[in-house]
Subunit: 400 residues, 2 copies
């Protein structure tokens, strides 16, 4: 029904080859779960007594996507039709807090959002957690997150222990992969079957959609662009190696060059929501601080150098710039394009463009919610909705 719009029980029977008694029984079950509703008599194209049109009821079940990143924790809740119900983010020093305190804070964010969903009469079908690192998705464990300093952290297990989510399934996945899925389904390059998404955060992750599918690799670790060595004579990275791309284009690199008096650290007074940092950088740029323009040009140049590698290897049509890259796209993209034009080798370079994401720092949690929706729709039998009345949709904006 989701692909074909509302249709009658008879039409479902014809399309699936199931007999009508079976269809009636299945529809009853989905109605009981609050996932299907009757939408009135169906007329178009039918002969004889009109059937009753059945439609997907996406408003009563929801999906929760949360993200823990270096300097913030975010949550986005949607209904199964993809409408955003809740969108919030808080600045948080995950880098300095360690896994235990970070997961406590994440659990509080989850608890608060679940309570809000409850008030909205929406039953969550699942929770997916986005983390900037290498994830063992089968166990929901962070194998290694260089910028958080986490190794072997069982995120799904810890959240399950917190007992907020009770029977709600919890998954964990890489932030950039989830954000790439969000871009592919609903962002500025939606439907572009070959795209690369770059997270502009302290770390720079990549999610690759190739031929319409997320590139996973053997362990789901593909697209780890931030730690490709791009400057052999460069600086030491938090991963322990030298010259990684993110030491040139990550948010910490920009802050160090543009506002050296505000550089990253792990003390509480040094941690701020990335939006605050960016507001300060924009303010100083407007005030004519030459360090800011120079820093943005340098980030753009290294972004172009890395983009040339990505085009050679993945041949995408669009490189979607997320996170802070999107916020500062106006100065950064022209600098990146100039470098790319210098390094371009084939038509593939001319056919590829940069695009600034409009999903902001919420792209990963948006994608995380999208994965929950996708799973729920492909197997709705796991969902069980309380039959209290729905009280409408709150279009969300980020709030603390």
């Amino acid at each position: 029904m989701s692909a074909n719009g509302p249709c009658s029980r008879s039409a479902v029977a014809v399309a699936t080859g199931l007999n009508k008694a079976t269809v009636t029984s299945l529809v009853n079950e989905l109605q009981t779960r609050g996932l299907v509703k009757e939408m009135g008599p169906q007329h178009a194209g039918s002969v004889g007594r009109p059937g009753v049109a059945l439609g997907l009821d996406g408003s009563r079940a929801g999906a929760l996507g949360v993200e823990v990143n270096v300097d913030y924790i975010a949550a986005i809740a949607t209904d199964l039709a993809g409408r955003v119900l809740i969108d919030r983010r808080i600045g948080f020093d995950a880098m300095g807090s360690g896994p235990d305190r970070s997961l406590d804070e994440l659990a509080r964010m989850v608890e608060k959002t679940l309570a809000d969903l409850d008030r909205l009469g929406v039953t969550p079908a699942g929770i997916t957690v986005a983390v900037p690192g290498l994830i063992d998705t089968t166990t929901g464990t962070v194998v290694f997150a260089p910028n958080l300093g986490w190794r072997g952290v069982p995120v799904a297990g810890r959240l399950a222990q917190a007992d907020l989510a009770r029977d709600i399934p919890i998954a964990v996945d890489n932030d950039a992969n989830l954000a790439a899925l969000a871009e592919y389904t609903s962002g500025v390059a939606a439907g572009t079957s070959d795209l690369v998404y770059l997270t502009g955060e302290v770390g720079v992750g990549g999610g690759v959609i190739s031929g319409g599918r997320l590139l996973g690799g053997a362990d789901g670790f593909a697209g780890e662009v931030g730690h490709v060595m791009i400057d052999p004579s460069g600086e030491r990275c938090r991963c322990g190696r030298v010259g990684c791309w993110e030491t040139r284009v990550g948010l910490a690199a920009l802050v160090r060059m543009a506002t050296p008096d505000r550089a990253y650290g792990t003390g509480p007074q040094l941690v701020r929501d990335p939006e605050e940092r960016l507001a300060e950088i924009e303010q100083r740029r407007a005030g004519g601080d030459p360090r800011v323009d120079a820093a943005l040009a340098e980030v753009g140049r290294w972004l172009g150098i890395g983009a040339a590698m990505l085009i050679n290897l993945f041949n995408p049509r669009v490189i979607v710039l997320g996170g802070y890259f999107a916020r500062l796209a106006d100065p950064i993209i022209p600098a990146a394009q100039r470098e790319l034009a210098r390094l371009g080798m084939s038509d593939a370079f001319e056919r590829c463009r940069f695009a600034a994401s409009d999903l902001g720092f919420g792209a990963a949690s948006r994608g995380a919610a999208g994965v929950v929706v996708e799973r729920a729709l492909s197997d709705p039998t796991g969902i069980s909705i309380r039959m209290s009345p729905s009280i409408g949709v709150i279009e969300g904006t980020p709030t603390a």
Copy 2:
């Protein structure tokens, strides 16, 4: 039948849902084309009068894969069962000869191989040409082949004009992509759904199998590993840019370091089949020439640096080393592994191994023939076999 082994007309009717008259008519057509043969009565598991088992007759139709590379031209012909019938290679200065003379020489190779197939009673179902460069596969045109110095060369059109192949369909594709497919179907890492193949030639191409599918990208240009900038302070590449990976690991780089008196040029006396060059390098290594060991260690080190990038981006289980890398795997792989261990960031590095291809310089033409087989089996109606008797199979070894 190919997936299930011999079976009767009745069994085909049951499996496909077609009625028996239709199956009989289709089988007659395939028998006329020489693609199906009766293999005797079928007993196993059947009730009542036994049907006649039908089997795929792959020996009467064949596939031709050819390759033009910097310093050789190669051809491999197989039957539709994948058995190699003809395998030949000649040293040829494609780099210095330009597209016209190179395509004349390629046409002669095709003509000779087609004549041999004719003598074997095998009808070619198609020809695929492998070229080390970016290919527009819809028109069979080489868009850009940096190491051949070709731009916009209509290879398929030129071969069609030569009128040797008459009605045989001609396709053109990237050498590394074709070799990767050959490795995935029949090489040392056969069945490994995440692998990267590297062509060890003058140029270094890459073919990526990810999740069991060839990674194409938006234009089929993905996997262009040789021109990723890996050494910003390095040498100028034939593509015009600086520091490309192949300036560090290509065969020309090895020859320049190991046997500087034999370095590459475009004069006829400087061009030799790569096997000859490798024989000389091995001979000097056995003679204790320290330049050779130093050169191999240096190539291995840069191979490890590039492999780290490939593991971060593609997360493969195996990196298959083709061409000259395979021939000199003993000294090269340990040096590459040492560098990789130094750069490794996650379990993905430990779980990935190097493997030396056993398909030699024939991998791309083998893959090219494989693509023809694949297409012929998925739509056999395009094949029309002369009904002369088959005269057996010649197991090929490379011959001039």
